[in-house]
């Protein structure tokens, strides 16, 4: 079976930062593979190692700079990669769920995977919706927030656990093909080996434009407009215990003893 993994490079923000208009000043930004996607990639690579997946292909909506992150996925064991982007994507101030769905659906139509894995959410925009939206678009089954996966390719099904709120898991069976959104903790993502990093350099990383996938510019523009960005009001009423580590620890010890913590008997 062929597995497609959606891999996003997310924007990371320093602890201290400044907002400039509708964006955070570039000086405070970094980039990394989306944490949830690390687990999706690992799950796909394990399927390949177990002989269940014949091919693992990654799909990324992102600019050329994202190729470093894509190479990481290849170094961890994905076979080849597809990156979708053009100037219209770059010009959109917010690629909404509909736009990302259309772009990924274009890749799915071309690749016809049996299984699509995405992270539950991206660490930056955090819409938590693209995977399920994609499934609806391409007309296949899905499951959101999966923390355990057993595939039965012969029966054409996947048995998953969905992590609900409050420590409850839902046991669900979905028909294949399906899109599963992968929760952190489902596995232990590996570090890329040196050999993996070397071999990633020669793996195929193809760039396609939305136009080549038949996606109209209006779809990329979408209906959502970012009109404001602000730091949330910090309403900390905490008593800050100052001084050296020893001094603040002593103050805290007094606070804790007042509340009966660590008091003998």
């Amino acid at each position: 079976m062929k597995v497609l993994v959606a891999v996003t490079e997310v924007t990371t923000v320093d602890d201290e930062f400044e907002i400039d208009g509708l964006a955070i000043d570039d000086r405070y930004l970094g980039a990394d593979m989306n944490e949830w996607d690390e687990y999706a990639v690992e799950e796909a690579v394990q399927l390949a190692e177990d002989g269940v997946a014949d091919e693992v292909v990654t799909a990324t909506v992102g600019p050329e700079e994202a190729e470093e992150t894509i190479r990481q996925a290849l170094a961890k064991g994905a076979d080849r990669a597809i990156r979708v982007w053009d100037d219209d994507c770059a010009a959109a101030d917010l690629l909404d769920v509909g736009a990302k769905t259309a772009l990924l659906a274009g890749v799915v139509a071309r690749e016809e995977p049996d299984l699509v894995l995405t992270g539950v959410q991206s660490g930056d925009a955090g819409f938590m919706a693209t995977g399920v939206s994609l499934a609806a678009d391409v007309g296949c089954q899905w499951a959101a927030v999966v923390n355990d996966l057993e595939l039965s390719p012969e029966e054409g099904t996947a048995d998953v656990r969905r992590e609900l709120e409050g420590g409850v898991e839902e046991l669900t069976t979905v028909e294949l093909p399906a899109v599963l959104t992968i929760q952190t903790g489902i596995n232990e993502p590996r570090y890329a080996s040196l050999r993996g990093i070397r071999s990633a350099q020669s793996k195929e990383l193809e760039h396609v434009t939305p136009g080549e996938l038949g996606i109209e510019p209006a779809t990329i523009e979408g209906a959502l407009r970012l009109i404001g960005m602000a730091e949330p009001d910090v309403e900390s009423e905490a008593t800050v215990l100052e001084g050296s580590a020893e001094e603040s620890a002593a103050e805290l010890a007094a606070v804790l003893r007042e509340r009966g913590v660590g008091v003998e008997g």
Partner: protein, 320 residues
């Protein structure tokens, strides 16, 4: 598509026989929106004991409760079909649902199938024109999103709107639906409570809770030593459990346990909203974190803005 009605349609949520609290919060958000559009607030309950759910969902401000009797527990294929049919019937300007694990398992599919713009995890709404507030970068910023469409689908974050608990005088209307079984490709086989291990963190008076700031599994010894010195129990935020350093039963937060100890000491925990949901009811909250702007500081009663690897050993010494 012609202009929609000014109505608002909100989809309540239930699980294993109970209407979930977020449903009452959804009514509050829905009433505010319907007040702004001048339309009616429709609430729908889908699957399970819809008669009982329908009575409970009949809150002040709700004009019509639609009950869809098909199915028992949540099944996304049934929900997609039911909500699509309800949208066709009500033709609402705004469709509202909880931003929950199950909400996110059907709402994006409905939005996509009906080609409606979707804004998730909304924490505030202004209507006419619609501006939704939501966080980005793990809560570091709040963004305002305008929707350039006369319809929208919104999922709201739990705990951001107060609950409406007064009974209303809505008409309760059974909604007849023919489920297309050929479009049901998933089945829910059961539920499992996540194993608690040998410790029940919800019973502890004092919790020492450890987060990502601990960096390495080996450093956990420091946290165990502190807990021993204080006579406390060790709990953790999600990344520690994801890494397999502590068992799932010790996880505090939305997908873990909700705890209300006398004293909660958060060590190297930034305080993501999912974590805070599980511990904000603690009597006294202490945060030890190098980042003074970490969200945990918003709910802390006492804070030390310093390196945990300096503070924790000093604190252990205080109690030895």
């Amino acid at each position: 598509m012609s202009a929609p009605s000014p109505d608002v349609l909100a989809i309540a949520e239930h699980r294993r026989g109970d209407l979930r609290d977020v449903s009452d919060q959804l009514v509050t958000a829905g009433s505010e929106l319907a007040g702004a559009t001048g339309g009616d607030l429709h609430v729908a309950v889908v699957s399970g004991d819809v008669e009982a759910f329908g009575r409970k969902a009949n809150r002040e401000g709700v004009d019509v409760v639609h009950t869809v009797a098909d199915g028992e527990e949540f099944n996304h294929d049934v929900y997609v079909q039911a909500v699509e049919a309800l949208v066709e019937e009500v033709d609402p300007r705004y469709l509202l649902a909880p931003n929950s694990v199950n909400g996110l398992d059907y709402v994006p599919a409905v939005a996509r199938r009906l080609a409606l713009p979707l804004v998730t995890d909304v924490v505030d709404i202004e209507a006419e024109p619609l501006v939704a507030t939501r966080e980005m970068y793990g809560g570091k910023v709040e963004t305002e999103i305008e929707v350039a469409d006369d319809r929208a689908v919104l999922t709201i974050r739990a705990g951001e709107w107060p609950a409406t608990t007064d009974t209303g005088d809505a008409s309760v209307e059974p909604f007849e639906l023919e489920i297309d079984e050929s479009r049901v490709g998933s089945s829910v086989n059961g539920f499992e409570e996540v194993g608690g291990g040998d410790v029940d963190i919800t019973e502890a008076d004092v919790l020492v809770s450890v987060g990502r700031g601990i960096d390495d599994e080996e450093n956990l010894e420091l946290i165990h030593d502190l807990a021993d010195a204080l006579g406390a129990t060790v709990s953790a935020s999600r990344p520690i459990v994801d890494a397999g350093w502590l068992e799932k039963g010790r996880q505090v937060g939305q997908s873990g346990k909700v705890v209300t100890p006398d004293v909660y000491i958060a060590v190297g925990i930034s305080g993501a909203v999912q974590h805070v949901a599980g511990m904000k009811g603690s009597e006294t909250i202490v945060a030890i974190n190098t980042d003074p702007s970490a969200p945990i500081m918003d709910i802390a009663d006492y804070a030390i803005h310093d390196d945990l690897f300096e503070v924790v050993p000093a604190l252990i010494e205080e109690f030895e």
